[in-house]
């Protein structure tokens, strides 16, 4: 499959999705990203999957394919439903769907910014969680080894942000995702068992990972 990489919007524009994901939530951020990059069209990932708010499906009559938008078929298979703090996401399998040659790059870059926002929020929550806990009388957040994990997570976020600020697109976005994956897992370690609960803070990480899996950037071969 060949995906033509068009130039996405500049980092200064895309940074809004980071702020939205961080402050309001993933459902809101995805809704705005879709309205701005692919209005009326359901963005489909390279494996033929979607992960979107219900409102996006309702407001769209077409879906993306490598050959351009097609009218939305009926009877797509619902793969998953994920409740988040600001609404529900639904995953579909859309046979024949795939990234659009014109809007695919902007969508993929926006997804990376949204993940950055979710991971930023996760680390803030982890620090807050540990500020309220103690180990042998010492605030857990002040333990040097805990700070070490926190620093690793912060470094991953900083690397992702630095790459995104250079208007990273195409294969560079892979590194953004890997850095965010590592930071996300460090955050999970920081939360202790609280992050392992279904309704705990691990929810943001789950969605963030699924977004990366549903809408990965093009591989070297596809981008060339």
């Amino acid at each position: 499959m060949t995906v033509t990489v068009s130039t996405p919007a500049a980092a200064t524009d895309l940074a809004r999705y980071h702020t939205l994901a961080c402050t309001t939530g993933v459902v809101t951020a995805l809704g705005v990203l879709q309205a701005e990059t692919s209005p009326g069209i359901v963005p489909v990932g390279p494996g033929g999957h979607t992960l979107l708010p219900a409102a996006v499906y309702a407001a769209s009559d077409r879906y993306t394919t490598p050959q351009g938008p097609r009218p939305q078929p009926y009877g797509q298979k619902v793969l998953d439903r994920i409740v988040t703090a600001d609404g529900e996401l639904i995953a579909w399998r859309v046979p024949g769907g795939g990234p659009d040659p014109d809007t695919g790059a902007a969508w993929t870059a926006g997804i990376a910014w949204i993940r950055l926002g979710l991971t930023t929020r996760l680390l803030e929550q982890a620090a807050e969680h540990l500020r309220g806990r103690t180990i042998a009388g010492v605030v857990t957040l002040h333990l040097p080894m805990v700070r070490g994990i926190l620093a690793d997570a912060a470094a991953g976020i900083a690397e992702a942000r630095a790459l995104l600020d250079t208007d990273a697109c195409g294969t560079d976005l892979h590194r953004v995702h890997r850095a965010l994956d590592e930071s996300g897992r460090s955050c999970l370690h920081l939360f202790g068992a609280a992050g392992f609960l279904t309704d705990g803070p691990g929810g943001d990480l789950h969605v963030s990972e699924l977004l990366a899996e549903t809408y990965p950037p093009p591989t070297d071969m596809e981008a060339s």
Partner: protein, 384 residues
């Protein structure tokens, strides 16, 4: 135990593990199936590690019974079962971690009460240490057992306790006095007034059904206090530490089983690799072998001296990281939407993330390992 015997034992376990396969995903969706089908398809008594007199059908390998009393036997067998469903292994009825505490602390009457209770029919047990505000730090424990007339009253909340909401008996760690020696292990029947347990929903190893326990003025007696005949230094904290040392190799083998399963899935499903991917698979293969050797060494060490958890901490660190890494990367290797296309991979990834926390987080293992190393408890350090 020689290598041939362990190889045969592994082969037996692998054959049994297939019994778990058809229902692994159902159990993940609905943890109650672990109760309606005790053993999840396995003959539960065979795998529960029961004393010989309560285990009429032990595993038989090379003509001899295998009771799964040693850590070495456990890590070999349970890794193979975890390769199919780690949640099912953790959800088996039986003594689990409590058996270690019973073995170290119970007197004859308590021992008989415990074993008769849990072998008459499928019965789950729990080991309740963690509290909502204190996990890694037992010194902050708030659950208390205080004298009340001839007996005691138990008060407090425990959180993230495996199998507790389905258990009829278990061990609660509580503070009777100040300091590490003030902690005692109490054998608690869950039908006592003031005792409640509610399931918590988790992302992985869902069949284990973590729970929250609340104890409000639960009446217990002198007969329920484990270690009552033992010295002040041989009480709750001493037994808990030995239990962690014995079960960290077990948690490590479960993590290893999950890592191996994810590797197996990639090899089965993926066709054609790039050069870098081929190198990655070779690296995984070598790390799986290295970690398996370390887990076995840790199990041998725990059998020889349950007072020393140095190798167990090393094994748990390595196995946990490997399970997290392989499952996470496997998702990428199997392509976009892999977790939906391969639901078992989704389960492996979620299960793999439990091991970081079970029986002490990675940092707690690092602290134990560093201390053990400096105390010259690792074999190569001793030899030097």
């Amino acid at each position: 135990m020689n290598t041939d015997f362990l190889t045969d034992l592994r082969a037996h376990a692998r054959a049994y593990a297939d019994l778990l396969r058809p229902t692994a995903l159902d159990r993940d969706r609905n943890p109650d199936l672990a109760v309606s089908s005790p053993g999840c398809g396995l003959p539960w008594r065979t795998f529960a590690g029961l004393p010989a007199e309560y285990n009429p059908e032990p595993l038989r390998v090379d003509g001899r019974p295998v009771l799964l009393h040693s850590c070495v036997e456990r890590v070999v067998v349970l890794e193979e079962l975890a390769r199919v469903d780690a949640g099912a292994v953790l959800a088996l009825p039986g003594p689990s971690m409590s058996s270690s505490v019973i073995g170290d602390l119970a007197d004859d009457d308590q021992r008989q009460r415990f074993w008769e209770r849990i072998t008459a029919e499928p019965t789950w047990t729990f080991f309740a240490m963690t509290e909502p505000t204190h996990g890694s730090d037992p010194s902050g424990m708030r659950t208390t057992v205080r004298r009340d007339g001839d007996g005691f009253l138990l008060n407090g909340t425990k959180r993230y306790i495996g199998n507790a909401a389905r258990s009829r008996i278990g061990i609660v760690f509580a503070r009777r006095g100040a300091g590490p020696l003030g902690m005692v292990a109490v054998l608690v029947d869950t039908d006592l007034p003031g005792f409640t347990a509610a399931p918590l929903s988790t992302r992985g190893v869902r069949a284990l059904q973590l729970s929250e326990l609340r104890m409000a003025e639960v009446p217990v007696t002198e007969d329920d206090i484990l270690g009552r005949h033992r010295s002040a230094t041989r009480q709750g904290m001493w037994a808990a530490t030995r239990t962690f040392n014995r079960y960290r190799p077990v948690v490590s083998c479960l993590a290893l089983g999950v890592a191996q399963a994810a590797y197996d899935l990639v090899v089965t499903e993926r066709r054609g690799y790039r050069v870098a991917e081929r190198h990655l698979l070779t690296d995984w293969e070598q790390r799986l072998t290295g970690t398996r050797a370390l887990v076995l060494a840790a199990a041998r060490s725990a059998d020889a001296n349950p007072g020393d958890g140095t190798l167990a901490a090393a094994a748990k660190l390595r196995a946990t990281r490997l399970a997290e890494e392989i499952t996470t990367t496997a998702v990428r290797l199997l392509g976009p939407g892999a977790r939906w296309e391969h639901p078992i991979l989704d389960k492996l990834l979620r299960d793999a993330r439990a091991f970081e926390f079970m029986e002490g987080t990675g940092n707690v293992q690092r602290l134990t390992l560093a201390e053990g190393y400096l105390q010259r408890r690792l074999p190569d350090v001793r030899a030097a």
